[in-house]
């Protein structure tokens, strides 16, 4: 069950209960071919308890596979066993649309959806890379070697850059959330001693720099 509770934001409590086809507790490992055939298998299976919801989710799986095929740089890994994923493409598209053009309250809610979206496939390297490419296609993300990045680095990267997707108007509460993500990422990189850095972070700027805050002092652009 995926439960999102933000009473201070909504004034009441709303729950999003995911379907058991994609809920964390009922997903298990599958092979590469199973993943590729999943949508078709679901669409054409004869299960009397299936409803339109199952058919709808099957199409969401298919949408991911179709999108992956059109991401030229995306290559599936060779991993033998994969956890059944949560389809993300349509959710991603909607969230990006809201983050860029939504009302203040919707934008704030969309920011709270970022984390569940990234965490939904937190153990799935293919989906983490897939999400990084989706972000890159939208113009957000580092121009780093996504293919060589570790799962942890990709999770941090995706979380950070999803928060950075934004339009010209943002409610102030989102800034706090964005900065928290930036600060957490920076702290993880620099506060705990030197560590081998994933190539994806080897761009010229540290996370603080992604927020474009250095134009504060007139005449001092780019340091």
């Amino acid at each position: 069950m995926l439960r999102i509770t933000r009473p201070e934001v909504l004034g009441d409590e709303r729950n999003l209960t995911s379907h058991n086809m994609i809920s964390e507790n009922t997903r298990f490992y599958e092979g590469r071919s199973n993943r590729r055939n999943r949508p078709t298998s679901l669409l054409f299976r004869r299960n009397p308890i299936d409803s339109w919801v199952e058919l709808g989710i099957a199409w969401l799986f298919q949408r991911d596979l179709d999108r992956m095929e059109h991401l030229s740089r995306f290559k599936e890994s060779d991993s033998g066993s994969l956890i059944q994923p949560v389809p993300i493409y349509d959710t991603f598209e909607i969230l990006v649309e809201v983050l860029e053009n939504g009302s203040s309250q919707d934008i704030l809610l969309a920011h709270y959806c970022d984390e569940p979206l990234v965490q939904a496939n937190k153990a799935d390297m293919d989906y983490m890379r897939y999400l990084a490419y989706l972000l890159a296609d939208e113009g957000w993300g580092l121009d780093g070697p996504i293919e060589r990045a570790s799962l942890e680095a990709l999770k941090g990267h995706n979380m950070l850059f999803f928060h950075l997707v934004r339009g010209s108007h943002q409610p102030s509460d989102t800034e706090k959330r964005i900065f928290k993500t930036i600060a957490d990422t920076t702290r993880a990189m620099f506060a705990n001693g030197a560590k081998t850095m994933d190539d994806i972070w080897l761009a010229s700027m540290c996370p603080y720099g992604y927020s474009d805050f250095y134009h504060r002092h007139p005449g001092e652009h780019n340091y």
């Binding site: 800034e175 702290r187 850095m197 972070w201 761009a203 010229s204 700027m205 002092h217």
Partner: protein, 237 residues
């Protein structure tokens, strides 16, 4: 796609406190960090990202007000760095000097100085600059690979130049006289160093005269440390 600016958030006390916390942790770790040459560009403390982190942190903290509780914490950081830069190993042949800390501190000090930050104009701030200048007297040739990483990081980051730093320090009133831009590899002693008020400088300027004598380098800091603080104090009054 429009990028909105969260400058105001970066200058809020809460945010600055978070940044200062990370910076303090970073310098604590940097003090004991002696990266292997082959780590250049490959770890979180030894790449252009590090330089960017130091810059961005300086940028976020540059306008700290003296009335802010963070101001005194920041002063403690500068004081701590100055102490560490002066606390060199007795035998440099067996214990490496903190070159990494020096270049990280130099990068930080350079930015604050360049941006004319109030943080550098305090007694502690000026002493921090003095400590950086003194380090190059003690260690004329710090590790080149770290210098390249911090001073010529490439990409969009600017080049840092030691002689410009010395010049800027001088312009702000902190002068370590006879400090060559490329210090001689030997024959430097700071015994007998003294601080005097520069005759052509405004009140508050301090000049540290470093005697260049024959013989082996001497690392007797006592001759320069306490006069340096005292000298600045006296000059300010």
């Amino acid at each position: 796609m429009t990028v909105f600016n969260i400058n105001t958030y970066f200058t809020s006390p809460d945010t600055q406190e978070q940044i200062l916390d990370v910076l303090i942790s970073y310098f604590d770790n940097a003090a004991a960090h002696h990266p292997k040459p082959d780590e250049a560009g490959a770890n979180t403390y030894f790449s252009p990202v590090t330089v960017s982190f130091v810059y961005e942190s300086a940028w976020a903290l540059i306008d700290l007000e003296p009335t802010s509780p963070l101001f005194s914490r920041h002063n403690s950081l500068l004081q701590n760095l100055a102490t560490r830069l002066r606390n060199l190993p007795e035998d440099l042949t067996t214990s490496p000097p903190p070159d990494y800390l020096f270049f990280a501190s130099f990068t930080y000090g350079y930015r604050l100085l360049n941006w004319n930050s109030g943080l550098i104009k305090t007694e502690t701030g000026r002493d921090f600059i003095v400590a950086l200048l003194q380090y190059r007297v003690h260690i004329p040739q710090p590790r080149k690979d770290i210098e390249v990483e911090f001073c010529n990081p490439g990409n969009m980051l600017p080049t840092l130049n030691w002689s410009q730093f010395v010049e800027k320090a001088g312009a702000s009133g902190v002068v370590l006289s006879q400090l060559a831009e490329e210090p001689p590899a030997d024959s430097i002693t700071i015994d007998g160093a003294k601080i005097s008020e520069g005759s052509s400088r405004e009140a508050g300027d301090a000049t540290i005269n470093v005697g260049v004598l024959g013989g082996q380098p001497s690392y007797d800091d006592t001759a320069i440390h306490s006069p340096s603080r005292t000298g600045i104090d006296e000059a300010k009054t």
